[in-house]
Amino acid sequence: MIAGRQRFTPLQRLLHWLMAVCILAMLFIGVGMVSTVMPKYLTLVSIHKPLGIAILVLALIRLAVRLRYGTPPLPADLPEPMKLAAQLSHYALYVLMIGMPLLGWGMLSAAAYPVVLFGGVYLPAILPQSDSLHTLLWNAHFYFAFVFFALVLLHLAAALFHALVRRDGVFEAMAPMSTHDEIARAQ
């Protein structure tokens, strides 16, 4: 542990916090847009699609960066179940960050909707029109959104638990800036 890096690289931290904002916005936009027939519906839908593609691109970059730079080690005294939970939840978050935009894109393709990004940029359909595929992907996109939000909350709870209760440096490893605790520890 002593030999390892204590923090994620600045690029990883930048990607993490940028995506945190995007994903939270995405989840709220998604659940909000399907609940209304008011004019904001179309505004929200027209943000949801390009933002989803942006998250997909960022997630792929992030995955590459993660494979290249790895992660700082978890504290040696972290109980095994918590280590396992941390690892599994991170796998799940990566699967969702990459999978949800693809499900959405596939769902729109299977419904023969044009997929429009900003400024009249169109994405090609990735699937042929199909009722059964549309229904399957729609359900997956819908239910995984709630799983995603639950995971985000769990992730946030765990981060705060590390920061406030365990104070073991795990939060500081991803914190956007160095905290007092970390500076103190470094000294």
Binding site: F28, V37, A111, P124, W138, L153, L156, L160, L164
Partner: protein
């Protein structure tokens, strides 16, 4: 630090409370955004549920305009539309069309003569993958001013309270004009004799970036021949489908597309109000219906004629309907595609 003066247990307890508050607050904000804490919010689910006929929902069908027949054809732009929008569809040329004649009813088995409103769903595709979808109807103006009022109209028409419609009309006097149209406008014996109107307004942008708020209509080339409702009923419950299939077999049917441009101050946000007759109009091209296609397993079945699906050069205006329709149509589409097993896909599966 403040915590160091407290007992560790108290500090941990305080931290756990803080974590619980943050997570609980996040979950509550999500629930609020989803509308779970706002039962009065007009959701697409509510709007679509209110469309259900008294006989119950017809599974697998569009939740409104359930009865119809599909067609394919071509839109021939004459180039004049480029004066109002840079959309590719207005550049002189021919563009493939998919469309659907339909009746404004949620009951796919409604006899033709019982349905006052007729419609046309239209999709025009241009070579670079853009599509213009539209769903028009034959009244000259819409029944109500807002989507909320439309929802209340659906509730009032389904209500058992004998005064429900009277109460509704009191709150939404614009319904009177529509009632008068429904009572007095002549019926015709053919989809080919109908004029179809967007009613909703949209914003067109021309190549200089100038924006104009417009509505559009399809004017039939065929002469309208009035027919009484009784005579139409005598021709049979599905006469209109049979008639249009036969007519198109005999020769393509044509409509001229006319775009009307609003003057400043015209009621662009209210489809229940016509614009004055003297507004600038532009004939932008001709729709030719070349082939009638089956509705059940034809090319329209899988298309949502969502009026917010617009090419570059067009966008929604301050009219709240296209967006509300988009939200409700998406709900209808999600439902009916999930019910595909209940939908008679071929003529042989069809009910007698």
């Amino acid at each position: 630090m403040a915590q160091s003066s407290q007992s560790p247990t108290r500090s941990i307890f305080g931290s756990l409370v803080l974590i619980a508050v943050v997570i609980g607050g996040g979950a509550a904000a999500f629930a609020y955004t989803a509308g779970w804490l706002s039962p009065q919010r007009l959701t697409p689910e509510k709007m679509v549920a209110a469309l259900a006929p008294p006989t119950g929902v017809a599974l697998g069908y569009r939740r409104n305009h359930a009865k119809g027949i599909c067609f394919t054809g071509v839109f021939e732009a004459n180039g004049a539309g480029s004066a109002v929008s840079y959309a590719q569809v207005f550049i002189r040329g021919q563009y493939p069309v998919l469309g659907r004649f339909n009746l404004g009813t949620a009951d796919p088995n409604a006899p033709d003569a019982t349905v006052r409103v007729r419609g046309m769903g239209l999709q025009i595709s241009t070579p670079e993958g853009q599509v213009w979808r539209s769903a028009m109807i034959d009244p000259p103006f819409f029944a109500v001013s807002t989507p909320q009022a439309f929802y209340e109209l659906l509730l009032a028409s389904a209500s058992k309270d004998p005064d429900a419609m009277k109460t509704f009309a009191g709150a939404h006097p614009e319904i009177a004009a529509f009632g008068a149209w429904a009572k007095s406008a002549p019926w015709t014996g053919s989809y080919a004799e109908e004029r179809f109107n967007s009613l909703n307004s949209f914003v067109f942008t021309d190549s200089s970036g100038a924006e104009k708020t417009v509505r559009w209509s399809l004017l039939p080339a065929a002469q309208s021949v009035p027919i009484s409702q009784e005579d139409l009923a005598k021709r049979g419950p599905d006469f209109l489908e049979q008639e249009i299939a036969e007519r198109v077999r005999g020769g393509p049917q044509r409509w001229t597309m006319v775009v009307s441009v609003a003057n400043p101050g015209d009621p662009t946000a209210d489809p229940s109000k016509s614009w004055p007759e003297d507004r600038r109009t532009v004939e932008v091209g001709t729709l030719t219906v070349q082939r009638i296609e089956p509705d059940r397993d034809g090319p329209c079945r899988d298309i949502n004629f969502d009026p917010s699906v617009l090419p570059s050069g067009m966008r929604t205006s301050d009219d709240p309907f296209p967006v509300a329709r988009s939200a409700a149509y998406a709900r209808s589409y999600d439902l009916r595609t999930a019910e595909a097993k209940d939908y008679p896909r071929t003529a042989t599966d069809a009910k007698p």
